[in-house]
Subunit: 325 residues, 2 copies
C-alpha cells in the first residue's frame, strides 16, 4: 500500500513519542469548565452555536496540553451530533485542529449499514464525496471530515465492508471493526457461542482477518483492526492469535475499570499492535480523581492525567517485557 498509510503514521508516532495513549475527545456540556461555557454564552448567547464554540475551545485547549503525551485523538461523534449541526461543526474543526498538530485522528462513530448507505459513510467520513464541478454536468470529489481512521460495525457484513475496504486500500485510511466491547454488563450477542463452538466475537474476528487482507502498511501491520475492551484481557489474548498483525483499539482503561496491565495484554512482543484510550479520565481530570482541582486549572489537570496515563501504560508494557521504555 505504500508509505504514509494510517498504520505507518501510528507507528511513527509511537516511536517518536514513546506512548501508546489515545485521548478520547468526548465533550459533555455540563462538564465543560464554567469559564469556557460562560465566555461562549457571552459571545453567542444561550444558543446551539455557543455550545459548538465552547466544545471547540475546550478541545483546542485539551489538544494543546496533551499533544506531547498522546499519539492520537478519538473524538466520539455521538457527543457532537447530539448538538445537531453546531455540534458537527465543532467536530469538523476539532479534527482539522488535531491534524494540524500532527496527531492521528480516529473517529469513533461505530457506523454500520449496507450498499449505497455504506458507501456514503465511507466516502463522507474517510474518503471524498461528490462535489461541485465547473458546470452543471461536471463533478469533482472533495473530502468532508477526512479523518485518518474510524470505527465501524459489521453486523450487516460484506455489503458494509466493501466500500470501507476500498477506501482503506486506495486512500491509506484505517478502520477498527467493533468486536469485543468494554461495557459491563457484557453483550449477550458478542458472547453467544455459535454451532462451531466459538463465540460471535471470535467469528467476527475471523471475518476481519479475511476482510483485512492486503491492507498492510510498510512494517507489516494492517490498516484494518478491531475494538476490544481493556475490561476483557483474556479475550485479548485470543484476539491476538486470530489477528497477529492487526491494531487493537482498546477502550475501558481507567474509568471503566480496566487496569494498565489488562490494557496491554493484547500487544505484540514488539510493543506494537495496540492503542489505549482514555477519555473522561483525562479531559475531565479536573472534576474527580487524583488531579481534581478548580475548573480554572483544568488544562494542567488534563496534562498531568495524560502524563500519568502514558507512564502507567509504558510501565505495564515494560513489565510485560514488550518495551524497553
Amino acid at each position: 500500500m505504500g508509505k504514509e498509510t494510517f498504520t505507518d503514521r501510528l507507528m511513527d508516532a509511537i516511536d517518536e513519542k514513546h506512548s501508546i495513549l489515545n485521548v478520547g475527545l468526548d465533550p459533555q456540556f455540563k462538564r465543560i469548565p464554567v469559564q469556557i461555557r460562560e465566555k461562549a454564552r457571552k459571545a453567542y448567547g444561550p444558543t446551539w452555536q455557543a455550545i459548538g464554540h465552547a466544545y471547540l475551545r475546550f478541545n483546542k485547549e485539551i489538544i494543546d496540553t496533551v499533544e506531547p503525551y498522546v499519539i492520537s485523538v478519538k473524538p466520539q461523534m455521538a457527543f457532537y451530533e447530539a448538538y445537531s449541526h453546531w455540534g458537527v461543526w465543532a467536530f469538523q474543526k476539532t479534527v482539522q485542529y488535531a491534524k494540524d498538530k500532527g496527531l492521528v485522528v480516529i473517529e469513533d462513530a461505530k457506523r454500520g449499514d449496507g450498499g449505497d448507505t455504506a458507501q456514503a459513510y465511507a466516502d463522507g467520513h474517510l474518503g471524498r464525496v461528490d462535489f461541485w464541478g465547473d458546470d452543471e454536468e461536471t463533478f469533482t470529489k472533495m473530502p468532508s471530515y477526512d479523518v485518518d481512521c474510524m470505527t465501524i460495525k459489521a453486523w450487516i457484513g460484506q455489503s458494509m465492508l466493501d466500500p470501507f475496504i476500498e477506501v482503506v486500500k486506495e486512500q491509506g485510511k484505517g478502520v477498527f471493526v467493533v468486536d469485543k466491547t468494554s461495557f459491563i454488563p457484557n453483550s449477550v450477542i458478542e458472547q453467544k457461542k455459535t454451532e462451531d463452538g466459538i463465540t460471535n466475537w471470535e467469528n467476527l474476528a475471523h471475518l476481519v482477518r479475511e476482510w483485512g487482507k492486503d491492507t498492510e502498511g510498510e512494517r507489516g501491520y494492517r490498516n484494518m483492526g478491531v475494538v476490544i475492551g481493556a475490561t476483557y484481557p483474556e479475550e485479548a489474548e485470543t484476539m491476538r492469535k486470530i489477528l497477529p498483525n492487526a491494531w487493537f483499539l482498546i477502550p475501558g482503561y481507567d474509568t471503566q475499570g480496566g487496569g494498565a496491565d489488562d490494557a496491554v495484554v493484547g500487544f505484540n512482543k514488539d510493543g506494537y499492535g495496540g492503542v489505549v484510550n482514555s477519555s473522561r479520565g483525562i479531559i475531565f481530570a479536573y472534576i474527580k480523581g487524583r488531579f481534581q482541582c478548580d475548573p480554572k486549572d483544568f488544562v494542567e489537570a488534563s496534562r498531568k492525567a495524560a502524563e500519568f496515563a502514558r507512564d502507567d501504560l509504558n510501565a505495564a508494557l515494560k513489565q510485560a517485557g514488550k518495551r524497553a521504555w
Copy 2:
C-alpha cells in the same frame, strides 16, 4: 404509556391515509435535479452550504408531493452527514418540515454504542440534551433532532438499549432494532447459527421481545420494533411469531428486488405491523423506471411513483386477506 406515542400516531396515519408506505429521503448530490442544484449554486456559490440548501429544497418538494400517499418519511442520516455540518443542517430542517406536514419521521441512523455514548445518542436524536439555563449553575433540557423514531443496532446489548428503553417509555418515542437486513449478499453474522440451533438474528429478535416489554401503545402494538428486509420473506414469518405485536420496518421493496407480496408477508392479519420503505424508486423516479422523465418534471414522477407503490402494496395486502382497502 398513554396516548400519542409513536405506534399510536403510526396507526392513525395508516387508518387515515390507507397506506403502509414510507418514503426514504436519501438525497445523493449527483441525482438532485439539475435546476435545484443550479439554483443553489447561484445563491451560495459552489459550496457545502449550497449542497445543504439543495438537499432541503429537494426534500421539501418531495414531501409536498408524496405526503398524501405515505404515512412516514425515513431520512437516512448517512447521506446528510456525508456533507458535514451543512448536510446535518439540511437533515434537521427536513425533519421539522415533515413533522409540520403531519408526517411521522423515522430517522435511519443505525446507531449503536454503550454507556454515556448510548445515552448521548438516545438524548440527542430522540430525547432532550442538556442546554443553557438562567445562569452558569443551572441547566435546562432541549430537544435536538426530536425525531419520532430511529433505527439502532444492538451488538453491544443491554448497555446500548437501556437509555433507549427509557426514552421510549418516558417520551413516547419509537425505535427499530436492526435485525435481518435487506442487503444481498446476506450477512454471515446475521445468519450464523448459535449452539441452541437458531440464527443470530432470531436470537436478537428474542432479545428485542424482552427489551420491548411494556412499550405498548393504546392499541397493543409496541414502540420497539425491528428492521427486516423485504428480500427475506420466509424470515418475516418467523420474526412475526417471535414478535407478535412489534412493528417491522421493511426496506428492500422495489429497487432492491423485494416484491410487494414479499414485503407484506410479515404483516399481521389485522393489516398492521409493518411499514414498507421505498427510497430511490420514489425520490429519483425521474431518473429511471416507468416514470422516467425530464428533470424539470421530477415532482410529478415522484408523485406517480408514490401513488403506484401505495397501490401496489395495498393490493398485496388485500390479496393476502389482511386489508379490505
